[in-house]
Amino acid sequence: MAAVTLKNLSKMYAKVAANDNINMKIEEGEFITLVGPSGCGKTTTLRMIAGLLSPSSGSIFFDDEDVTHTPTQNRGIGMVFQDYALFPHLNVWDNIGFGLKIQKYPKDQVKQRVRQGVEMVNLIGLEGRALSELSGGQRQRVALARALVMEPRVFLLDEPLSNLDAKLRLHMRTELKRIHKRIGVTTIYVTHDQVEAMTLSNRVIIMLDGKIQQKGTPKEVYEKPINRFVGGFMGSPPMNFLENCEIIRENDHLFLVVKGIRFSVPRHFYRAIERLNLSTVTTGIRPEDLSDRNDAVTSQYKSHMLDDTIEMTIDVIEPIGANKLLDLYHKDLRLSAIVKADSSVLPDQHINIKVNLERIHLFDPKTEESLAYFDKL
C-alpha cells in the first residue's frame, strides 16, 4: 500500500488542458473520490496515476518514490475499467488468476489467492462460467477480484458502477465499502455521481474543467461549498439559487431582497459584503433548509430580530420517502423545499416558508466564490 501524491500535474491536448495543475495527496489506506461532470478530466487524472497516459508536466509519487515515468507494469496498481475490460476468451477463474499466472506465482498460491478473491466478491460457484453467462453485476465483481488478487499498492476505479441498474449500484456500493474496510487498500474512485461520492469515501475531490475545485470530507464540501459550482453540484435535490439578490441596509442590519421577497443576511457574511463592496449577491439555499413555518414552532421566539420568513405558493408536491418535495413559486421565482411527509400541504396553497438563515450560502456574483471563505482568501 502506498500514499499517492500528485504535484502540479497537467495534461494538455491540442487545445484544451484536460488536467490543469492538479495537486493532491491521498493518504495510505484512504478511500477518496474524484467527482465532477462529464469531461472535467477525472479519467485523465486516473490514467496518469495508472501510467496509461503520460503527463504534459508535473509528477506523481507513490510514497516517496517518483513514478512519473515508471511504466504501468511496474507501478503495482490495480484498476477497474468502466467497461470492465475482462478477457472474453477466459472464464471467471482464469480472468481472476490472469495476472498471478503471468507473474509466475507458484500454482498452489495462485489457486489460494484466486479462491480468496472469488470469496471476497461472492462469486462462489461461478468460477467455471464463461463471461457471456454472467450478469452485469457479476462481471463487475470479476473485474474487482481480478484487480484485487494482485494486492495492488493503489487501487483505481473508473466509474465502475455506471453500467449497473439503480438497485445493483446501491448494493455494489455497499460491497465496495465492505471490501475496502476489509483490505484497506489506498483507493481512488472516479465517478460523476455525487451521491456515490458522498456515500463512499472518506474524502471527496471535486473537479471542473480540468481543475480541482474543492477537497474535503463529504460533510465539509456539502456544508461549506467553496463556490457556486460545488454548491450546485453536490446534493440532491440540488441547491436553490437566487440570482441578483439586492443588499439593503436598515439600522445596522443587512437584508436581501429579490423579486419582492426579503430576508436577513446572517452576521458572518457582513464583513465580506462590506470589504468587497457588493451591492448584489447570489444566494444558495438547500431544499432541506427551507421548511414549513408551522412545523418550526420551537425556534420562533429566537428569531424576533431576524427576518427569516418568505411567502410562497405551492405548485407541485412530490412525495419522497419520509419527506415531501415542494415545488414553490412566487412571481417568477421558483424554489424547492423539503418538508416532513406528515405536513398537511396542498397544491396551490399559500405557505409561509422559514429559511434556515444560519445555513444559507452567499456567492460573489462575478467570481462565484463563496463569501463564507472570505477570511481565508
Binding site: 511504466p71 503495482g76 475490460a85 472474453p88
Partner: protein, 289 residues
C-alpha cells in the same frame, strides 16, 4: 390443391427456401459436380466439336475409373505441381500474415499522419488488374533474378493478398477494446506477453480468415504466376489451365487437376465451419464486456 391454402408469408418463405437450394446448387454443387463428372468420364463422352454432354457419361476409360488422374499423375508430374502449389500458398500465407498483422495492429492502435489515406491506398491497390500489376513488376523482378523462382511468385502473391489481409486484420484488431491490453498492463503483463496472451487468442479467428483468403488467392492464381513465374514455379492452376489452352484441349485432364485442387478447399471449408462457431467471433464482444 394444397397451394391454395398458403398465406403470402408462407409462399414467400417457400420461394426463398427453394431459391436458396437452387442458388447453392448452381454456385457450389454444380461446378463441383461438373468437374468431378468430367474427371471420371470417357473422353468420347464430350464431343470435341461442340454438342451436348451425354448424361450419364460412360464412366472411366480403358477400364479404369481414375484413368485421367493416373495420366496427370504420371505423365504430367502432378505431384511436383501439387507440392509447389502448397509451398507457394503456405509461403504466401506466412509472408502476408507476418507483414500485415503488425501493420494492421499499428493502424488500429497508433495515430500517425496520413493514416487514413494510407489505408485508402490499399483499397485502390486492390482494384488494380492482375495484368497491369504483373507486367509492371516483370522488369524489376527480371533485374533481381526473381523471374521463374518460387520466392518471386510468393512475393507477387503476397503483394496481391496484403491489401485484403490487412483490411481483415484491421477490422479484427479494431474489435478488441484497447482497455483489454491496458488491463493486462496494470496486472504487470509486458507488451509482448499481452500480445501473446490477450491479442493473439482474441484475433485467432480473424487471422484464420485472413490466412484462408491468402491461401486461396495463391492456390488459385493463374495470371500472376504465368507472368512472373516459369516452368520451375508454375502451380496447379497453371497446369490445369494449360490443358485448356491451344488446339489440343484436354478437358478431362484439366478436370482431374481441378478435382485435386478442390481437396484442400473442401478441407478448409469444413475446418472453418467448426472454428467459426466459437462464440467470441460474433463481433459483439466489444459491446458485451
Amino acid at each position: 390443391m394444397r397451394n391454395k391454402h398458403l398465406t403470402p408469408k408462407q409462399l414467400l418463405i417457400k420461394t426463398l427456401f427453394w431459391g436458396l437450394i437452387i442458388w447453392i446448387c448452381g454456385t457450389i454443387l454444380l461446378p463441383i459436380f461438373a468437374v468431378t463428372m468430367y474427371s471420371l468420364a470417357d473422353e468420347t463422352t464430350y464431343p470435341r466439336s461442340g454438342g451436348d454432354m451425354v448424361i450419364p457419361p460412360h464412366w472411366g476409360q480403358e477400364g479404369n475409373l481414375l484413368h485421367h488422374f493416373k495420366m496427370v499423375w504420371i505423365l504430367e508430374d502432378l505431384p511436383v505441381y501439387l507440392a509447389r502449389s502448397l509451398v507457394l500458398a503456405l509461403g504466401t500465407v506466412i509472408l502476408s500474415i507476418t507483414l500485415s498483422a503488425p501493420a494492421a495492429y499499428a493502424f488500429v492502435r497508433f495515430r500517425f499522419p496520413f493514416r487514413k489515406i494510407l489505408l485508402l491506398s490499399f483499397f485502390v491497390f486492390m482494384m488494380m488488374p492482375d495484368i497491369v500489376f504483373g507486367v509492371s513488376l516483370f522488369s524489376m523482378f527480371y533485374k533481381w533474378g526473381l523471374i521463374n523462382t518460387i520466392i518471386g511468385v510468393i512475393m507477387v502473391h503476397t503483394l496481391r493478398a496484403i491489401p485484403l489481409t490487412l483490411l481483415i486484420l484491421n477490422g479484427v484488431f479494431e474489435s478488441i477494446p484497447p482497455t483489454l491490453e491496458e488491463a493486462a498492463f496494470t496486472m504487470g503483463t509486458s507488451r509482448l506477453r499481452t500480445l501473446r496472451k490477450v491479442i493473439l487468442p482474441l484475433s485467432a479467428p480473424g487471422v484464420a480468415a485472413a490466412s484462408i483468403y491468402a491461401f486461396l488467392l495463391s492456390w488459385d492464381d493463374f495470371v500472376l504466376t504465368v507472368l512472373v513465374g516459369g516452368p520451375e514455379s508454375y502451380n496447379l492452376a497453371v497446369l490445369a489451365s494449360r490443358f485448356m489452352i491451344g488446339t489440343d484441349v484436354q478437358h478431362y485432364r484439366a478436370s482431374a487437376t481441378a478435382v485435386i485442387m478442390l481437396v484442400p478447399v473442401l478441407f478448409v471449408n469444413f475446418f472453418v465451419q467448426r472454428y467459426m462457431k466459437s462464440d467470441y467471433l460474433t463481433g459483439g464482444m466489444a459491446r458485451d464486456f
